[in-house]
């Protein structure tokens, strides 16, 4: 499959994520949209990693070319897990105080 398909798919996923963050009002759904953005980046990285590997076939570094892209994906997963951990606890803390996860509640600061 040509690389363009992967690029288009991950840009579409990314845009769905961005639109979700900007339009949704539920903190959990905003959070899911952010995860979607991260996974779009993951998909793109893996696709490019394979692409660079394919283009290096026959050269001296064919075995390792493009491997750093896949390594990056692992780091993103780990960091995303850490972020989920902190983010969900912030949302729970919020829920305990307001009994709602609606971000429309978040306009007390604007005055």
């Amino acid at each position: 499959m040509p690389i363009t398909y992967y690029i288009v798919l991950s840009i579409v996923l990314f845009c769905i994520g961005v639109v979700g963050v900007l339009t949704r009002r539920n903190a959990i759904i905003i959070f899911m949209s952010i995860e979607l953005m991260l996974n779009a980046a993951n998909l793109l990285l893996v696709a490019f990693s394979k692409m660079h590997n394919n283009s290096a076939i026959g050269t001296a570094n064919a075995a390792t070319a493009g491997i750093d892209g896949q390594l990056f994906v692992f780091f993103i997963m780990v960091v995303a897990a850490a972020e989920v951990c902190v983010g969900l606890s912030i949302i729970v803390m919020m829920y305990r105080n307001t009994h709602s996860v609606d971000v429309n509640f978040l306009n007390r600061l604007k005055n």
Binding site: I34, D68, I76, E83, G87, T98, L106, R108
Partner: protein, 456 residues
Amino acid sequence: MNTIILSAIFGVVMMFTGIFIHNRSVYKTVSAVALLVLLVFNIAESHGSAIFNIDTANFLHFDPFGLLFNSICIFSTLIYVMLSGRDLEKAGNNTAEVHALIFFVLCGIGIVTSYTNLLMLFIGIEILSIPLYILTGSDKKNLKGNEAALKYFLMGSFSTGILLMGIAMLYGSGGTFMVERVAKEGMLSYLSALGMVLIFIALSFKVSAAPFHFWTPDVYDGAPAVITSFMATVVKVAGFAAFIRLIEGRLGSMGSQSDRLIGIVIILTLAFGNLTAVFQQSVKRMLAYSSIAQAGFMLFALFAVNDAAKEGLLLYAAAYSLATIGIFSVLAKMDDMTLEGFNGFSKSQPLIAALLAIFLLSLAGIPLTGGFFAKYYMLASVVKTGKYLGLVIVGVLFAAVSAYYYFKVIQAMYFKEGNIVLAPVTNRFKYLLVFVAFLIVLLGVFPNSLLSFLYF
């Protein structure tokens, strides 16, 4: 390397201190001692004797600029912990953990001031940000703090998503994550141009440059004043260190297009920050907007990217951090954070009022204070490049605007009658504040006393 490893270790040490020692006033002392050790080892490393010599496979490169930046950040944090340690105890129940998180933030700063690889940029920024989300919400019962934490978290991880997408695109076009090697490509492909713009947007979020600044006033206003003090100073200037390393490495491939982009961002940031700060009634919120305005000045360094810009950024980081930490340390002790709260300050606390005046003058950039030379170096660096001299005029105009709202606080302190409500201050606090003011004046008279560390 010393900073990165030692600050992570000290963070863990602070957490264990929290388990074994239950006397809250000890945490501050332990933390200050650890910071001092960290500072000594960082300075030792910049003189060429690192205790950890680890092969980082060129992922990290420790140059004098990054190490001096670390020193400034650690020193500011030390001053911050010593000035505001008492107020940190009030920000939440888990004081030891707050100190631990501050060390983890410093670990992130150590990475973002020395990365040469986009992977390290990403990890550094995350290590820097994730503890901050927790710190913002450290006062769990305070609804405003909760709100600020959630907002900061959502905006922060949103910008992380954008950053990652940008990095993925740069990787697609260049096949490597190294900052410098990517730069040597001649023509820009659409993929790398898009990637660069996305990374630029993400980092603008982090340093709160307009038009991506909208979260800043709410978050800085909602978080406890002590935490805002740390976020608005040490962390923000570290964001600029990350930014300038990236722009420096990538400049060859961006060319004149990036100049225009950064120029527009500078003007927008200066305009939004200064013009909205004028209308604020709360001093805390005014300082939040002023931090956006000061970010506008620091952006000049990204526009110029030459030696003068780097010197200016270091000077700016020191002068701005020290002055803002000083102001916030007093603000955290006040009940009424509006302008009226400052009425008659000079009558009841003449010494602190005078020191606050020095800090505010430094932020406004009046000669004989560090802020003056910081702004001067920034503008001089743009003059040296010889491009877009109109930017310098815009900068000077907005510096004049900024003087208005800083002087409003001074006016309230000296020329208005009123009673202030200030928590009791110790003599040690006063001496320390005098020391900070002395440093700011020293930077304003001999800026080379700091910059000489860059070339020895």
